[in-house]
Structure formats: structure tokens, C-alpha cells
């Protein structure tokens, strides 16, 4: 008997009991849908996280001032105030893998425009900041070298701040007050979204570092809160770290038995953590998938046993008409495979739909991997064959005379 006819016959047999077939396949449908949806969302989320990490800036390396050791007392990171803009420039000149550098000087405080106010952080940076953070100006202009030198009171707004203060009005050219100092808004940055750990990167004001130091901090010290570098490639990270350590230790005159007064950080730690989380999620998913497919498979076995009992007369008849045991076996095997295969297809459809809904609600990208779809389909058909085997075997072994006599 040929396979296409058997499949068609199986379809007809299943169509005769539409409601029951659907309920039986439901276990598989839900299982596959859940797996497809979670995989799609999971992959989307992890790609999104990757995007967020690279949104910090391409090949970013951060240098923080280190902790202070004085008389056995050890302060936290950044308590030592030794890192300067000149350190940054020295590293940029001497380490050939660094492409750009910006210092970062932070100052918190209230900013006000007319009757609206917003509490945010102002970051003092230099001209290379847009390059280091790969963050473009959406409207207006970035400030100039002269602005830095003169500590000009100009600033650029992140999207969140721009919306909070201006609510759709064009901020460029307007004057806001930061900590009661008037600043002219010369530009607005493009939206950048949140970091992998949920911090809104658009909730910030950007100003020349000299301005932040002199006008907002009114500081006489020359230290910075952070130095940011963009590297030509992450492959050279160990070399760069060694270079930076050497240069800074030399510049800070740290003797050999003393600890560094700075800390170097890069994004590999974060990436490692995310990889671990996604691996854990994959294991969890596999477990969920296995359980749901097992439950669905048992449901199929159950209903196929019922079908064999119900259709004993039909089996007897087919045997009398010339069906071999093998034909009967194949008929029921294919029937259960079709049942779970169709369940799998419906499940994939539902899963994709669910993933799209979830993703659009959370602004994630949806990634339906074809591998996952093919795997789900193969798996569901496999479950049908595995769990359909015993009922099919029972059907094939029926005695034709007794089966024909059955009411």
C-alpha cells in the first residue's frame, strides 16, 4: 500500500472524529507552541541584550579610579582621585589599539525649563564621546573644542530629558537651567534605549567636561570619574589592558609592590553572564518541552488505543479484504504521526503568533529560528510514532474472525 494513500486515509479517519482529534492533539499543540514561543522570545531577548551591550559603545573599555589605601583603610572604587584627562590622552597616544577616548565627569542635579523640572545626571565629555559611545546627534550640533576650552555653558539633551522638559517643542536654541546655571541647548542625541541592566541611557545631559567641572562641580581638582576608550578590536583586549596598566602605573608613579590606583573594566564579563543565563534557559526549555511532549504523547497513545478498540470491526474487515498485518500497523502508526504532526504544525503557528504578541508588547525583536521549527515538527511526529507504536502493534495482531464478529 502506498504511503500517500495511507496518509490520506489517516487524515480521513482523523477528520471523522474532528473534536476528539483536536483535543488529543491539544497536548502536543500547547507543548510545541510554548517551546516555539519561548525560544523565539528568548532568542529575541538575547539578541536584544547583545544589541544593548554594543549600544554602550563599540569595543568599549572603561577605566575607573581605583580604591584608596590609607593606613589600612580601604575605600571603594573611585575614592582615589588620581585619574585625569591627561592620563586618557597619554593612553590614546601610546596604545595603538585605542581609537578614541573621552573623559567622563558626572554631576547630578535638577534641570529646569520654564515651569518644568527634571532630575538627571549631566555628563562632562569631550569631542570623541559620540564616537566612543557610537551615539549620534539627532538634531543640532555637538559642541566644539573651543566650548571645552572656554567651559561654555552649552549642552545636548538625551531623548528622555528632551521629552520631559520640552514635550515635543524643539529644544535646540532654548535655554535651560542646570543647578540654577543657564545652559544653551545646542542639540539632542538620538534615542539609545536602556542598558542590559535596565538603565535608561537617554536620561542624561551631555556637556563639555570643562564646563561640568568648572561650572557645575566648581572643583579645583583635575580628576575625572571615568575614562572611556573605544578599541579597534576586542581581540587585543589583553594587550590593551597591559598597556593601560603600564602607562597609568608609570604616570601615577606606582612602585612595584603597590596596588593599582585604577580599575579597568570591559564588557566581556557582562557578555559571559548573559551567555550563562541563556544556557540555563535553554536547559529549562528542553525540560519543559520534554515534559509537555511526553504528556501529549501519552494522550495520543490513549486515544489510539481507544480507536483500535472502536475500530476492531474495521480492522477485521481490512484483514479479510487482504490487508497484511504490516498494512494495519502502518495505518495506525501514520494516523498517530499525522495527529501529532498536525498538532505540531498548529503549535508552531500558535507559538509564532504568541511570540509576536509578546515581542510587540515588550519591544523585543522576534527571532523564529528555522532549526527550532524543523526540530519541533520532527519531534512532534516522532512522539506520534513512538507513542502510536503500541496501539498499532495491538491493532496488527488482532484476529480477523473475532474482530469481524465484534459488535
Amino acid at each position: 500500500m502506498n504511503a500517500m494513500i495511507t496518509i490520506k486515509m489517516a487524515m480521513c479517519a482523523l477528520a471523522r472524529n474532528k473534536g476528539r482529534s483536536l483535543l488529543t492533539a491539544l497536548g502536543i499543540i500547547i507543548g510545541i507552541a510554548a517551546v516555539i514561543a519561548v525560544i523565539a522570545v528568548g532568542q529575541g531577548a538575547s539578541v536584544n541584550m547583545g544589541d544593548q551591550i554594543s549600544s554602550m559603545g563599540n569595543n568599549l573599555l572603561m577605566v575607573f579610579p581605583g580604591s584608596q589605601n590609607a593606613g589600612g583603610f580601604r575605600g571603594g572604587m573611585g575614592t582615589q582621585q588620581t585619574l585625569t584627562v591627561e592620563d586618557g590622552e597619554a593612553i590614546l597616544n601610546e596604545c595603538r589599539f585605542t581609537l578614541a577616548m573621552t573623559p567622563l565627569i558626572r554631576s547630578g542635579g535638577q534641570c529646569i525649563y520654564r515651569d518644568k523640572d527634571w532630575s538627571t545626571q549631566t555628563q562632562g565629555v569631550n569631542l570623541q564621546y559620540p564616537e566612543v559611545r557610537s551615539w549620534k546627534v539627532a538634531s543640532g550640533e555637538f559642541f566644539t573644542e573651543t566650548d571645552i576650552k572656554n567651559a561654555a555653558r552649552v549642552c545636548l539633551l538625551g531623548q528622555t530629558v528632551a521629552e520631559a522638559l520640552f514635550e515635543g517643542e524643539d529644544p535646540v536654541g532654548q535655554t535651560i537651567r542646570i543647578r540654577n546655571m543657564p545652559f544653551r541647548v545646542i542639540g539632542v542625541m538620538e534615542p539609545k534605549g536602556s542598558t542590559a541592566w535596565g538603565q535608561d541611557q537617554d536620561d542624561t545631559i551631555i556637556a563639555p567636561w570643562m564646563t561640568v567641572r568648572r561650572v557645575l562641580q566648581r572643583s579645583k581638582f583635575s580628576n575625572v570619574d571615568q575614562l572611556l576608550f573605544s578599541l579597534s578590536s576586542m581581540d587585543n583586549l589583553p594587550v590593551v589592558k597591559d598597556d593601560v596598566t603600564g602607562i597609568l602605573r608609570q604616570r601615577h608613579r606606582i612602585s612595584e609592590n603597590e596596588d593599582d590606583d585604577f580599575t579597568i573594566m570591559d564588557m566581556t564579563e557582562v557578555t559571559k553572564m548573559i551567555t550563562q543565563v541563556s544556557r540555563l534557559m535553554t536547559i529549562l526549555l528542553t525540560v519543559i518541552a520534554s515534559i509537555s511532549l511526553l504528556v501529549g504523547g501519552i494522550g495520543i497513545m490513549n486515544i489510539m488505543l481507544v480507536a483500535v478498540t472502536e475500530r476492531t470491526r474495521e480492522i477485521g474487515l481490512r484483514l479479510a479484504l487482504g490487508a497484511r498485518q504490516h498494512d494495519i500497523m502502518m495505518q495506525f502508526l501514520i494516523e498517530s504521526a499525522v495527529l501529532s504532526g498536525v498538532g505540531g504544525i498548529i503549535g508552531i503557528g500558535l507559538g509564532i503568533a504568541a511570540a509576536n504578541i509578546l515581542a510587540s508588547a515588550n519591544n523585543w525583536p522576534v527571532l523564529i529560528s528555522p532549526v527550532a521549527v524543523i526540530l519541533a515538527l520532527t519531534f512532534s511526529a516522532g512522539v506520534g510514532i513512538f507513542f502510536g507504536f503500541y496501539p498499532a502493534w495491538r491493532a496488527a495482531r488482532l484476529n480477523p474472525i473475532e474482530s469481524l464478529r465484534r459488535e
Partner: protein
């Protein structure tokens, strides 16, 4: 001889009691005969028909069908013989429910040599038309009368053009008028050369046959 049974014995083992169903049965049936097997229930007539239909095997004795010693064949070969050489007609019709008359008739073709679906349909339709069911080919068994259902079953038995038809009480579930129609049909098929062996307990029905074999307690009288 078309059918030769020699010294056939068959015993059913029922919970510690052995029930002899056939005792030393020997029968010859020539090609083109129309035989009625009569007897009370329990006389062994159904067992004999099952043996003739290759659905059951004797405990001892030999069965030659169309020159082939059947009692020594494997189950796949027997299935093949049932498919090519024998057409079954049952008392309760045994049509697949919720399946059209045409598809019911096509059923034996699925287990024979591969045919195109158009050819299968063509053969089923030709037979149904011939048996006066041309208007009802797409009807399901539930939409047909008893006599019509039995004619669909006969069409199904004929679709592989077998030389032998085995009928188990073919009129048992029919009113007398339909029964007469069916028997007339059998007589016509027999006239065309098909060998028919039919089990019945109604003398009215048996009189349509050319030869009556009466059984009692598992033996031919």
C-alpha cells in the same frame, strides 16, 4: 477441482473444555459451482467458511484452493490470496461508516497491486452502476437501505475480480424482498462463472444455489 478439502479437523479450546468444530471434513467444490452450506448454529458451518476464506487454519488436514496448498502458507501470502481470489460478503455488510459507497468499494484495491486513483474510482463506479447504485455512489452507508448496503458490499467483493465469493448469511439482515434481489444477483454472478459458497440457515435462500451441503456437529451429512 477448484476447492479440495481433505480430512479437515478443527478444535476450539475454550477454558479447559475442547469444542470440536470440524470433524474429518472432506469436500470438493468445482469452479463455477453455487453451494449453500446449511445447518443449525454450532454445526460448524461458519468455521468451514472461515477456513475456506483463509481467515483460519485447520488443526489437521489439507486445503487446496485453485491448485495452491493453503494450509501451509504464511500470513502475508494468505492476505494476498484473500485479496486476489476471494470476495467476502457478510451478514451485517461491514461497510466503513461515514465513508461513501464508492470509497467502500475501493477498499480492497488499496491492498492489491498499485493503481492510479482515477482507475480505482473508475472500477468502483462501473461496479456500482452495474449493481444499480449509480445514483448513490457518494452516499454513506447510513443513507442507504439494507439491500443497497449489501449491494455495495457485493460490489466491494467483486472489485478485485476474484474467482470465489464467500457469503456468510448474506440475507440475514434483509427483508424478504431485498433478500430475493440479492440472491438473484448472486445467481447472475454465478452464471458469469464466479464460484459462490454461501452459509445460510434459511431453506428459501438455499434453494437459489445449485448444491446444498448440510452440516451437523462439525461433520458433513
Amino acid at each position: 477441482m477448484f476447492i479440495t478439502l481433505r480430512n479437515i479437523n478443527k478444535v476450539y479450546h475454550m477454558e479447559s473444555v475442547d469444542v470440536p468444530a470440524l470433524r474429518d471434513v472432506s469436500v470438493d467444490i468445482a469452479a463455477g459451482e453455487f453451494v449453500a452450506i446449511m445447518g443449525h448454529s454450532g454445526s460448524g458451518k461458519s468455521t468451514l467458511l472461515n477456513l475456506l476464506g483463509c481467515l483460519d487454519m485447520p488443526d489437521s488436514g489439507t486445503y487446496h484452493l485453485d491448485g495452491v496448498e493453503v494450509s501451509k502458507l504464511g500470513s502475508d501470502t494468505l492476505a494476498r490470496i484473500r485479496n486476489r481470489k476471494i470476495g467476502f460478503v457478510f451478514q451485517n455488510f461491514n461497510l466503513l461508516p461515514r465513508t461513501s459507497a464508492e470509497e467502500n468499494v475501493e477498499l480492497p484495491l488499496f491492498y492489491g497491486p498499485p493503481l492510479r486513483s482515477a482507475e480505482r474510482r473508475e472500477r468502483a463506479q462501473t461496479l456500482l452502476r452495474r449493481l444499480g447504485l449509480g445514483e448513490r455512489m457518494q452516499h454513506h452507508p447510513g443513507q442507504l437501505s439494507g439491500g443497497q448496503q449489501q449491494r455495495v458490499a457485493i460490489a466491494r467483493a467483486l472489485v478485485n475480480q476474484p474467482p470465489l465469493i464467500l457469503a456468510d448469511e448474506p440475507t440475514g439482515n434483509l427483508d424478504s424482498r431485498s433478500a430475493e434481489d440479492i440472491m438473484a444477483l448472486f445467481r447472475e454472478l454465478n452464471r458469469e462463472g464466479i464460484t459462490i459458497v454461501m452459509v445460510t440457515h434459511e431453506p428459501d435462500v438455499a434453494q437459489f444455489s445449485k448444491r446444498v451441503i448440510t452440516m451437523k456437529d462439525g461433520a458433513i451429512q
